[in-house]
Amino acid sequence: MANYMLLLHSNPDAYVKLSPEEAQKALQKFLAWRERLRSQKILVGSARLKDDVGKVVRGAGKPRVTDGPYTESKEVLGGYFTIEASDYDAAVALCGDCPHLEYGGTIEVREVAPVPGV
């Protein structure tokens, strides 16, 4: 078993036109998906990243700070889930019914490297 990070990228405008009722329906699908991960005891952690563009720091010594990194792309990293899975296939399969995809988002799946020697 290894930990996988599911990085949820989305276009923030995707939800703007939802009515309150539709927003609740979308949310309920998300919560049901999250609940499935939780009940299978494979949800390690999750967090939302704030809406603002964030900062990018470059250069040693006197670092240069810019807004970013996604200022030119419409997609932003909205948050992540860390889950436990046996391999990439299993981790990807768990994303298959994530409502995020239904609303036009993409999910980047990355295996977390175990700390050597542990």
Partner: protein, 429 residues
């Protein structure tokens, strides 16, 4: 308030967002002033979207409605700061943002009472006589009901742009005419209540009519109309007519589950399985029926509710007290005559005095302009002709009914009845 830890962590109360959206808009509009209705709507939408983007990661907070109110309130405060609208309102709102706790949160009984009052004032404002009839309905659904422009358009079989224009015009009028949230008094209050009752009645009919919109939206329209009628009836400005409207809508809504059969076909009142009528709603109907009897006023809603109550208390169509029903229709024709009421009355006349008498009544309506395109006039006539054994006449008049606009389920029902008098299987048509 109930602790929510026992509830499954992934479930929310049905329509929480929609119902709280209406309340939040009403609440913030009071704090910001009606001229900032748009801002109130925007920050509420923002709060809902923020929940949608946060709760999947964090799970549902302990007080979901409280979370939404806090976020919306903070966003409203930010807008005020940003626009430098430093005034009494922003001070007031600032204090609320700072205190960020009880009693300014949903769940607190005092606050919930305040919210009901906010909703009531908002509803009355949306139905101000200066705003056009059509716009009153759309504005009430948008601001108090928490429906989107698209959903309203779908329910009214209208273009989204048309509804949007209607809403924009109404909001401009609120700003320009200085229409406010204060409750009118005396004669003005009576007039305003009439306007609100009419809007709620139309809202329900729009949902109830078989010709309009998507099924789900229609049911929600009926539910919202009933909720608003109850809000009004339970408020400090309630009148017997408000209770009569609740009773009428509750009785009608109770019949909804029996109105369509398993195959989606329309079932007429006389053929409905009355066990399917919603008992809870019938109870609501009878409760408000008794409440509306206070005072001397007899409004058209009283008579319509009494008619619906008579159906609701009958075991079957044949056991209905048709004599009493006819008396109620006679009274209704006296205080609020209309061709549609006259048509319904003719059906009752036929039940009491026989089909020929019913046909006599219909003949009086033959030249009625407003019924020229109404399929139910020939449909009723054809049914009565069938009862007196005139199959050819009935077939001819059913064909006439089919030439008039009606919904697909209504059309199928007509074809089926027509086929009965032609003695042919309906599947050939």
């Amino acid at each position: 308030m109930e602790p929510e830890s026992n509830a499954p962590a992934h479930e929310l109360v049905d329509h929480l967002f929609r119902s709280r959206a209406g309340q939040m808009v009403a609440y913030l509009t009071r704090l910001l002033g009606p001229e900032h209705l748009d801002t109130a709507e925007e920050v509420v939408q923002e709060a809902l979207l923020k929940a949608l983007q946060t709760w999947p990661y964090s799970g549902i907070p302990e007080n979901p409605a409280g979370w939404l109110f806090r976020v919306a309130r903070n966003a409203a405060f930010d807008v005020l700061k940003h626009e430098k609208l430093v005034c009494q309102k922003s001070v007031e709102l600032g204090i609320l943002v700072e205190s960020a706790g009880a009693p300014g949160l949903p769940g607190d009984p005092e606050f919930e009472e305040q919210l009901r009052d906010d909703e009531l004032r908002m509803l009355l404002m949306c139905c101000h006589p200066a705003i056009s009839r059509d716009a009153r309905l759309a504005l009430s659904l948008k601001t108090v009901g928490g429906f989107s422009t698209r959903e309203i358009a779908r329910a009214f079989l209208s273009e989204e742009a048309v509804i949007l224009q209607r809403l924009l015009r109404a909001k401009r009028q609120i700003r320009n005419d200085g229409i406010g949230l204060e409750l009118p008094r005396g004669e003005a209050l009576a007039q305003r209540l009439d306007s609100v009752l009419e809007a709620i009645y139309l809202m329900f009919n729009e949902g109830y009519a078989t010709h309009s919109g998507a099924e789900l939206t229609r049911q929600e329209l009926c539910g919202e109309a009933l909720r608003l009628a109850q809000l009004l009836a339970d408020s400090s400005v309630s009148t017997p007519a408000c209770h009569a409207l609740v009773a009428l809508l509750a009785f009608q809504a109770a019949r909804l589950p029996a109105r369509v059969d398993g195959r989606g076909e329309l079932v007429l009142l006389e053929d409905q399985d009355r066990d399917l009528w919603n008992r809870e709603l019938l109870a609501v109907g009878f409760l408000h029926m008794s409440l509306c009897a206070e005072g001397v006023e007899v409004s058209p809603f009283h008579l319509q509710a009494a008619i619906a109550a008579l159906h609701a208390s009958a075991e079957s169509d044949t056991e209905t007290d048709w004599v009493k029903m006819l008396d109620l229709y006679d009274q209704l024709m006296e205080i609020s005559p209309s061709p549609v009421v006259a048509l319904n009355r003719a059906v009752v006349v036929a039940k009491v005095k026989g089909a020929s008498e019913g046909l006599e009544e219909l003949r009086l309506l033959a030249d009625e302009r407003s019924l020229q395109n109404y399929y139910l006039l020939p449909a009723v006539e054809a049914s009565l002709l069938l009862q007196i054994g005139d199959k050819d006449g009935a077939a001819r008049v059913f064909r006439e009914a089919l030439r008039r606009p009606c919904s697909e389920p209504e059309k199928r029902l007509l074809i089926q009845r027509w086929a009965q008098c032609e003695l042919i299987a309906p599947c050939f048509y």
